[in-house]
Amino acid sequence: MSTTSIALAESPLLALVLRRADDALILGHRLSEWCGHAPMLEEDIALANIALDCVGQARALYEYAAQVDGRGLTEDDFAYRREAHQYRNCLLVEQPNGDFAATIVRQVLFSAFIDPYWRAMMGSADAALAAVAAKAEKETAYHLRHAAEWLIRLGDGTAESRARVQAALDDLWPYAGEAFESDPAEAGLVAAGIAVDPASLRPAFDRTIARVLEEATLTRPTGSGAQSGGRRGRHSEHLGFILADLQYLQRAHPGAVW
């Protein structure tokens, strides 16, 4: 019965592709929730634009995941027929939009990781991933610039905006570190030149964050930022609700074509 979730044998490569794809889909989902409710019309357009880029990246990656899996699955099988514990995204991207400050902080923290990641992945020995990286890198460079500009405006804006954005930074900082974690399976891909070691991107991330926070007159939170578990399928409470929305029609009408 096709409502049954798919079962996957996650090879290291498939696990890697799903991490990237799930990050993109879930972040795109969150950003799309803003559509029609942003603080100004220009931002409705910008957030929808970033969301569209994310969904587009997810689609390309799921398509590749299907190829890696080799059993004839589709992009929609990965998005609509996995349980929360099968999702491999980091916890950061599933955090609620909150106010505009929280959305911007989440975007800066994620983009400051993923932008150098895709740039480095353009040199991947895996041609499919290198191709995704080449397209994604142009998009994530814009996402980082856009979000960082807003972080600076909000930090160096009014007393209220500064308090809101500092609070959002303090709340989300614990989720910033997970993106740089890897596991032994990923180490094999790194050795083969297929993947980039996320930990190697931490200095670039730290430099970006330091520069942006300084201009935004914000204080970098102390603490190690140690919330993690998403890569293993241990998510926050939020992902279940995201999937309840996202998967509802596919789950309610098994086998239907849309």
Partner: protein, 338 residues
């Protein structure tokens, strides 16, 4: 529909001295010669007011129209549909943006226009006060609502006011794409499971009559159309456009294998038109009066978004001022050092 703005009567009567009459005459001659009127050209105040009202109502409709469709972005049933719907709603925000810009060329700021929407003074299309209850509504809105919008908007590409006419050319291209997308959603549902087809039928049942109302009251009751026609803002009457829409849409619905919720719908061989039953104008009046199923909800969502975003807009202004001040100080310091 967006041209519902043309059905409201203007309260202010133009004072016309001999000099004014001469200018009016020259203006009308330009319009009659199909010349485009541009922002810096002289124009009658009533022409300006009519256009501001119509263009801003069109812009507001795009913005409020984002809500019923945005409602389904997170629940779109495939990634392809999700991306298409997100792009569509983003297009609507874009339409709103350049329509506000077109209205601004007539001397009214976007802030003023948005305030008019939020205070309830300005109207938006009646159609967006109906709810989107199933995925098929996304198909029905594309097929029917955008289809009706196109009927109204294609003639506006030749509107006498240049900035509006040019904006409409781009909008119409995108709306045609949206309409085909909507029809394709309906077609997919109608070829799908019995539940999907029932979903499509239910959507048509709910959206059909409100879509016919989008064209505004019957010509006999439409107060403002004559002057707008003379100014070449509106080139076809409400009833003409409504008939055109019905004629184009009924065969499309039959191709889907759906039935229209109108027992009086028959084909008039001699005239070559689909004749439809009586429209419930009381429902239309109620929706315009604020008593539609979602009027309060839509306005509340817009007001809430505007209020929740106030601190962001203030921060952006404050930051821009700080930057400008620092730039001035830096220039001053350089000048002092020199």
């Amino acid at each position: 529909m967006y041209t519902q703005a043309l059905n409201a009567k203007d309260a202010v009567v133009e004072a016309a001295g001999p000099e004014e009459a001469g200018r009016n005459g020259r203006f009308q001659a330009r319009v009659d010669a199909e010349e485009r009127i541009e922002p810096n050209d002289w124009m009658p105040e009533a022409y300006r007011r009519t256009l501001v009202r119509q263009i801003s109502q069109h812009a507001h409709s795009e913005i409020v129209g984002m809500l019923p469709e945005g409602n389904w972005i997170t629940r779109a049933p495939s990634l392809k549909r999700k991306a298409a719907l997100l792009a569509k709603v983003q297009d609507e925000a874009g339409h709103g943006l350049y329509l506000y810009a077109a209205a601004e060329t007539l001397g009214t700021s976007r802030e003023e226009l948005v305030d008019q929407l939020l205070s309830g003074k300005a109207k938006y299309s009646s159609i967006f006060n109906y709810p989107t209850l199933s995925w098929a509504d996304i198909g029905a809105i594309g097929w029917l609502v955008d289809g009706a919008a196109i009927m109204n908007q294609i003639p506006l590409c030749r509107c006498s006011y240049g900035p509006y006419a040019r904006a409409m050319i781009r909008i119409c291209k995108e709306e045609s794409f949206h309409q085909r997308q909507g029809y394709e959603i309906m077609l997919t549902l109608c070829r799908g499971t019995p539940e999907q087809k029932a979903m499509a039928q239910d959507a048509l049942n709910r959206w059909w009559w409100p879509c016919l109302m989008m064209f505004g009251p019957p010509d006999a009751e439409s107060q403002h159309s004559e002057q707008s026609a003379q100014w070449k803002i509106k080139r076809f009457s409400n009833d003409e456009l409504r008939q055109k829409f019905v004629d184009a849409t009924v065969p499309q619905g039959h191709h889907l294998g759906l039935t229209f919720p109108d027992p009086d719908l028959t084909y008039d061989e001699a005239a070559g038109h689909w004749r439809f039953g009586a429209i419930d104008w009381e429902e239309f009046r109620q929706v315009l009066a604020g008593n539609g199923p979602c009027n309060r909800q839509r306005m509340k969502q817009r007001r809430d978004a505007h209020a929740a975003g106030a601190w962001v807009r203030e921060a952006a202004m404050a930051h821009a001022e700080k930057r400008a001040r620092r730039a001035r100080e830096a220039t001053g310091a350089v000048a002092a050092a020199a």
